[in-house]
Symmetry: C2
Subunit: 465 residues, 2 copies
């Protein structure tokens, strides 16, 4: 006879931690560091704080036969967290502040907890979190995760006076790690993070005591992303039901104007007319049938303004160019930021770059650097839409570029929702709109490179004569 059970989301991601990027001690330490660093950068940028992020990985000498026990510590000068929030933020899966319609690195309410969970199931030790919002108190928590019930167990709580008005968060715990295997990827991740966050100070102290410092080379931060309202094209029955549940307006015309971006008086009236929904109707009275009329109308009405991308925070052509220059010192760089586009009602912006020569090695392959919401993506390249575009869709010979050239291609997508294929955030789905935009961006920078290369070729030929 079958036995039925329910499991908590913590239990689900414990059992399926490989799907979240915590497959083995080598991949897990990479994922741990990237999840914590991304949390720190979000916490700084959202509050317009120039980020200082400090990462330390120490080998823990050990009598228990655990050959690979490490202590990880990540410190930032971000916004800090309120004391009632800290245990939930780091101890309850599917809890966080990034469930809004806003561009952030974080999106699932899971990453920090996965790092804590993996440390706990490999070393049976607690996690220490110290945090302050810069006001009068600093809070220190020692906690473990109750995985079965998806809630934190608070083992200890201390409160200190915040004399220096420090603000930020420190998280520290023991975890099994294979640093030797993961080292190259970790350093590559930090290096690429520095390219797309040139205003951040990042320091990494590795188990051998070596300092890796990525100092900021600008104090200018791009405009921060802001929260926005949904676009009609991204709407389904559930969205409408929830809006009806919280709305304070008294008629459908105001409902459209209040809850959707770029819908003014005229658009609201015309749209409701098109959808055969009475504009005077009280949202609280609308029937299931009318909800479906609304949703279908929103899909089919083609006179909405496109999604507003001013809520996004792209890298900027200058910033991307400077980051590439600093890291690779190429003889030629071209960068390009596409006009905003959208998929499923979510605005997005593609930025691309191409770099030639300098420190870029000839590998017989085009080097691809992928970024999404300022996160470097280092795994599963061949499954990513950028890879597909570069290898299957761009006709490099048309640009007189061959695979032997010392060539690096950079792609960045920023959006309210990145179409990741997995919760491990390593590769992006080939949504038609995203694919098309990446293709056009690559073609644009390839065109510039092509002009440079033929001019260079011409000059060399002239010199030989």
């Amino acid at each position: 006879v079958e036995v039925f059970e329910e499991i908590s989301p913590a239990d689900f991601f414990y059992r399926n931690r490989d799907i979240a990027g915590f497959t083995n001690p080598s991949r897990a330490i990479y994922s741990t560091i990237r999840e914590l660093v991304e949390n720190s950068l979000d916490a700084c940028e959202i509050h317009k704080i120039l980020p200082d992020v400090y990462i330390r990985l120490l080998k823990e000498s050990d009598s228990s036969g655990e050959p690979n026990k490490y202590r990880i510590r990540v410190e930032d000068n971000g916004s800090g967290l309120p004391s009632d929030i800290v245990p939930l933020a780091f101890g309850q899966v599917l809890f966080g502040s990034k469930y809004k319609l806003r561009q952030t690195r974080g999106t699932f309410g899971l990453g920090g907890k996965m790092a804590v969970l993996y440390g706990q199931i490999t070393t049976h030790s607690e996690t220490k979190i110290i945090s302050s919002n810069g006001k009068s108190k600093i809070f220190e928590f020692h906690l473990m995760m109750d995985i079965k019930n998806n809630k934190p167990e608070i083992l200890k709580k201390e409160t200190y006076h915040n004399n220096s008005k420090w603000h930020g968060t420190i998280i520290e715990f023991l975890t099994e790690a294979d640093y030797t295997r993961a080292k190259a990827k970790i350093l590559e991740y930090l290096k690429q993070t520095a390219i797309v966050a040139p205003y951040a100070n990042i320091t990494f102290v590795d188990p051998k005591g070596r300092f890796y410092k990525f100092d900021r080379f600008t104090t200018t931060m791009p405009r921060p992303s802001i929260e926005t309202t949904p676009h009609p094209h991204g709407v389904d029955v559930e969205t409408i039901k929830r809006l009806v549940g919280i709305t304070k307006v008294k008629n459908m015309k105001d409902f459209m104007r209040e809850h959707f971006q770029r819908v003014g008086e005229t658009t609201a009236i015309k749209f409701l007319d098109f959808s055969k929904v009475d504009q005077k109707r009280n949202p609280l009275d609308i029937t299931p049938e009318e909800i479906v009329l609304l949703v279908n109308g929103m899909k089919n009405y083609n006179a909405f303004l496109p999604p507003d991308a001013s809520c996004l925070s792209p890298l900027g052509e200058e910033s991307l160019k400077t980051g590439i220059q600093k890291e690779f010192n190429p003889e030629f760089i071209a960068v390009h930021q596409r006009k905003p586009s959208a998929y499923s009602g979510f605005p997005f912006i593609i930025e691309a770059g191409v770099a030639y020569g300098g420190n870029i090695p000839r590998t017989g392959n085009i080097l691809l650097y992928r970024f999404a919401n300022k996160i470097p993506l280092l795994f599963d390249e061949a499954s990513d839409v950028s890879w597909k575009v570069i290898h299957n869709m761009v006709n490099w010979r048309h640009y007189k570029i061959s695979a032997d050239d010392p060539l690096a291609v950079f792609t960045h997508i920023c959006s309210l929702k990145i179409p990741y294929k997995t919760v491990g955030k390593e590769f992006i789905a080939d949504r038609p709109e995203v694919e098309r935009e990446i293709l056009n961006a690559i073609r644009e920078v390839a065109r510039h490179l092509s002009i440079y290369l033929s001019r260079k070729n011409f000059i060399e030929k002239e010199r030989k004569r």
Copy 2:
């Protein structure tokens, strides 16, 4: 100021339904059908019932402007469900009977709910489920999902007399679908399912009223998979804690024998000695340090018997060969079942096949058919470990096989846990042990094909002289 929230697992998979395979109306109807069919086949096989699965997709004429509204109905003669379970099975995400250590198609406690959810958010209509375990009653439920709170809302419940002692489950609901786009994939999925489940009757009635019948061509079912205990190599601190929480034994020697597969008296004593844990200790008294000693000991002790694969249910070489023969009528087939292997304490068996000629088209590419726990995988081929093996690791020229040959390769993995990379179950991670086994299986069948081709070549040359 940041706003923090928790979301339910239903809300999480609603927001991220693309990750579960419900990206758009074309992909969603494919995923809907495959999730429901996989549930039906599991429900039959677990109870040794010869499966009869009936799928009907009807176009729903509609005044609401929804051009793509369909009614999906899937019927099986499986075990049915108890009345208190039906609402949870189809209305609560992360609920199911497949959280055990047993080979089943289902694994996440999510698939059926995603189908229900997608139908609900696109058509705002209820789901009807009729089920009986063959005893005296048939239950009919009409329900919707409360996505925010992850629980079913029961709109209606009826009970009927089960005069014919029918057993099985019927699920029916409205959903937005793009059948035109999805049709080829849906038919391919059913066709491939019939190859690996040759004992199943599958009938599909499409919106145009066309019948697609895949009749069973055997009444012999392979031995069903059975539930088993964990292997020491698959253990972490959380596993041990939970076992300690439920164990009834009084000492650690019996704890090892009771809760782990293939651990007898001698192995238990030797292992506990190796790990420096007292065999007389009461499990309820062991300390966190001792738990870590146990876990590390289990990783490092190399005298455990390998994981027991008798709990698995492979296809069988004969059955795979017959299925390939029936579908492709090739001039040559070779199949091979590898000896069992294991990754992370999970036993698995790889079966591979190669087919040449007959109805296999020459496409300039090797046709790859992938299966996992008897599920056909039709998407994201290039991200799958089998693709990687076939394209990057097998030296086909060594076997005198070229990409122009009319060649099809089949790979099947069965395991207690399939290393899927996503909850959408479409491609498998390149775990080293799995990759190695697939490579060796392919080499074996390629070798047989190579012998056949050179013999055929020789005969042709002889004939010409």
